[in-house]
Amino acid sequence: MTTGIRDKVAILGMGCTKFGERWDASATRLINEAFDECVADAGISADDIDAAWLGTCIEDIHLGRSGVPLATTLRLSNVPVTRVENYCATGTEAFRGAVYAVASGAARMALAMGVEKLKDTGYGGLPAFSVGTFDDQWWPNVTAPGTFALLANAYAARHRIPAGDLRRAMAHVSVKSHENGLGSPKAHIHKRISEQQVIAAPAIAEPLGLYDCCGVSDGAACAIVTTPETAAALRGAADTITVKAIQLAVSNGSEAGFGDWDASHFVTTRIASRRAYEEAGIRDPAAELDVTEVHDCFSITELVTMEDLGLSAEGRAVHDILDGVYDSSGRLPCQIDGGLKCFGHPIGASGLRMLYEVYLQLSGRAGARQLNDARLGLTHNLGGFPFQNVCSVTVLGRR
């Protein structure tokens, strides 16, 4: 019988760099930038950290492997440092490791750092990566937008949604995130766009166009976690933000290789979110959650995810989105900071950037984009392909 993670760990401080094409910064510089903000917020020093997790995904083009780059960059006190990688959900994996360390009692204070320096490849988009020596020999030469375009086409077919309606809803997702990004000084992209611009943009992978795809960015984000007691002692009980749930679901091959999946939804998101709601004690997520940050790598991903998280009914996300339910002024704002779409997507940092925004919102420190009385927030961090992926769902709340 598992007891879950609810209220066993608190966030003591967080930091996040400016995301973007950081031609000026190396990965180590990005780590320091996020860390300096984080320790200042937490009111501690690097020497107080008992254990650390480093999340980087495409490590070969920036830091290299192992925990060493984090330990040397921050001159940590020879504490355990573990490098983790789990596709685009890498950032949340670093956070999960740190949270579990504190929950177990093995660490009093633990650091989760996510970083990615992507703009040293010489071309746009994510670099291609191996899917294993054997699978590399037979998989098509897929790209991320291509595999998510498969989802869009299957979703439209499954729910018999007229192409124009899906196109407009997807455009609305992107227009909303661009609007929200204007309120985030640290966001990669600050540009207002129109539905017409999204629809008229060049095709990337049919039916996804340029504005259906998130940016590829450089950036870092981090968190220092501790026990709720320590947090209350250092920050005051009223300001304590605790972890209500962290769940991770990983595909076991049935979507890609067995015939019972219709290709129009995320199996893992449904599983991870149901487990997270149970862990957090949430019965009606649409009513109880105040803010969500989801993995909007593509507009269609956010759209489908709204259903898989149980926030929209199956086949109804198109209408909820067009009705403005997830707009900044809507019933349940999504990507209030601009999301992957505009805040940016440095792979290893993204999960922690989502947590950073929810943390700021729950702490009442989100500045111009602060929502009214946010008490419970969710992050959804997805990695891989619709047919084979890892999905983590985290819930944070005011204690």
Binding site: A205, F258, F387
Partner: protein
């Protein structure tokens, strides 16, 4: 010689892409206005992921039903455009088709008549009752852009199945003639042939050597020109076939059309393709004399049996090969596919994954034979063949039965046309493929053209190059899913 040996099956493959010759004139008329005289009809040309091996595999597949593959005792593979040397092409075909490993395997090549020479050799060697010999000839031809040869150089493959049971065309005899008449040759470093003047080739070569060889064969068999009902002269040069027939007393109506207008000269596969075309027209009792030219000539005589018309109706011959057609509307795109024009691919296109040969060998049944598994516990079909069943309701461990997906019918579950992914012919189209009877595989779609992909569209598996092959380096093959097409624009 055994009297009852002969052809027991045949099959042809032409790449779906057809390049209208006027596109060549449009591109090069400024340089060579004389091309206008040849600018009629079209050529069968390879897509970027086709070569002599992939076409040979396709021709062999349609010739040899899965149930008969175990009967193959010999495999003869002729090509002058094998994409590598020092490696048996026949071995790759053996894996792709699932032929017996103990079949005798021989690559023939070197000259344009190697395909028909291999057929003669096979017919004159011992063929056991029940056993069959598979002869495949395949060439991906290339000619210098703007040359007259470009107007006739097509690509294709043809296969003949030889045996003693239910013979469709009895083998009556053969003559060969060898002399070092060099009408064309390819220096070892080149992809394109060098040709001598057409008039000399016609007068001194075609019209002397071919008739001489035909006369020698008829003499040997005690026959005359009147005994020949179909004469096959695989020469694309206008007028040569009829002139060679006239030289031996065979009137033009008995000379088989050289298909020059619909696919062009297809190299070492040309004699076999035209023989198949003649067989599709022959009536029982009629005799077919087929020749092949190149540093001499081979001539073989066949007699159609009563079995031929019924069998021919369901065999995948030249008519079926010609009916699969996508018109290439862009000459530059054709040059890129042929590797004759290097356009910028960007850094993303430059990234190429290597193939560890130990992996390629260990997984050869999966990669070349498209062999997946069937769970012995629940019967679920799956690719790759797994150690543990993919069915969430089963997950049984243990060895799975080997099942090839190559000949199974399938449908599109979902699809995309990806313009970010590198492809020599963007967009790269791929998606989930759902096999009838079970099994789901993420696959690239081949020969899509401009037709719209839709969920549920029926697919046929095709053996193709995976990625544009490096000039120096391993060529990696796998299976792709091709929409069933008749005619469309590319």
């Amino acid at each position: 010689m055994t009297v009852n040996v002969g052809l027991v099956g045949f099959g042809a493959y032409l790449p779906a892409l057809r390049l209208p010759r006027e596109k060549i004139l449009d591109a090069h008329g400024w340089l060579n206005p004389g091309l206008a005289a040849f600018a009629k009809g079209e050529l069968a040309v390879c897509n970027w992921d086709e070569d002599a091996l992939t076409m040979a595999a396709e021709a062999a597949r349609v010739t040899l039903p899965v149930a008969k593959r175990g009967d193959v005792e010999k495999l003869m593979f002729a090509s002058t455009t094998l994409p590598f040397e020092g490696r048996f092409g026949g071995a790759l075909l053996t894996e792709a088709l699932g032929l017996p490993a103990d079949a005798l395997c021989l690559d023939a090549g070197g000259g344009m008549r190697s395909g028909l020479t291999a057929v003669r050799l096979a017919l004159e060697s011992d063929v056991r009752q029940g056993g069959v010999t598979l002869c495949v000839a395949s060439d991906r031809q290339q000619a210098k852009p703007a040359s007259i040869r470009e107007m006739s150089s097509g690509s294709g493959a043809a296969a003949l199945l030889l045996g003693r049971d239910k013979v469709l065309a009895r083998f009556l005899g053969a003559s060969s003639h060898t002399t070092d008449f060099v009408d064309r040759f390819r220096p070892g470093y080149a992809n394109e042939d060098i040709h001598w003047e057409d008039r000399w080739v016609r007068e001194e070569g075609y019209l002397k050597i071919i008739p001489e060889t035909i006369r020698a064969l008829l003499r040997k068999l005690g026959m005359s020109a009147d005994d020949v009902d179909h004469l096959v002269i695989p020469v694309a040069m206008p007028g040569v076939a009829a002139a060679a027939g006239a030289a031996v007393g065979i009137p033009p109506e008995r000379v088989t059309d050289n298909l020059s207008g619909v696919c062009g000269d297809v190299g070492s596969a040309y004699p076999l393709l035209l023989l198949i075309s003649a067989l599709e027209r022959a009536r029982p009792g009629e005799r077919i004399l087929v020749t092949a030219f190149g540093q001499g000539c081979d001539a073989l005589l066949f007699e159609a049996t009563d079995e031929l018309p019924a069998a021919s109706a369901h065999l995948h011959g030249s008519r079926a090969a010609l009916s699969r057609r996508l018109v290439e509307t862009n000459y530059l795109r054709h040059l890129v596919a042929a590797g004759q024009l290097a356009l910028d691919t960007g850094l993303r296109g430059a990234a190429q994954g290597a193939t560890p040969l130990s992996v390629a060998y260990r997984e050869r049944r999966a990669l070349l034979g498209f062999t997946g598994g069937r769970c012995p516990a629940c019967g679920t079909l799956q690719f790759p063949r797994a150690e543990r069943c993919v069915n969430p309701g089963c997950h049984a461990g243990g060895p799975q039965d080997a099942v090839s997906f190559a000949e199974r019918s399938a449908r599109i579950l979902n699809w995309t046309a990806d313009r970010l992914a590198y492809s020599p012919r963007p967009p790269l189209c791929y998606g989930m493929v759902e096999f009838d009877g079970g099994g789901r595989v993420l696959m690239e779609f081949a020969d899509v053209g401009e037709q719209a992909l839709v969920a549920g569209m029926p697919l046929r598996m095709v053996f193709r190059l995976r990625r544009p092959a490096p000039k120096l380096g391993y060529r990696s093959y796998f299976w792709k899913a091709a929409p069933l097409i008749r005619e469309a624009a590319a």
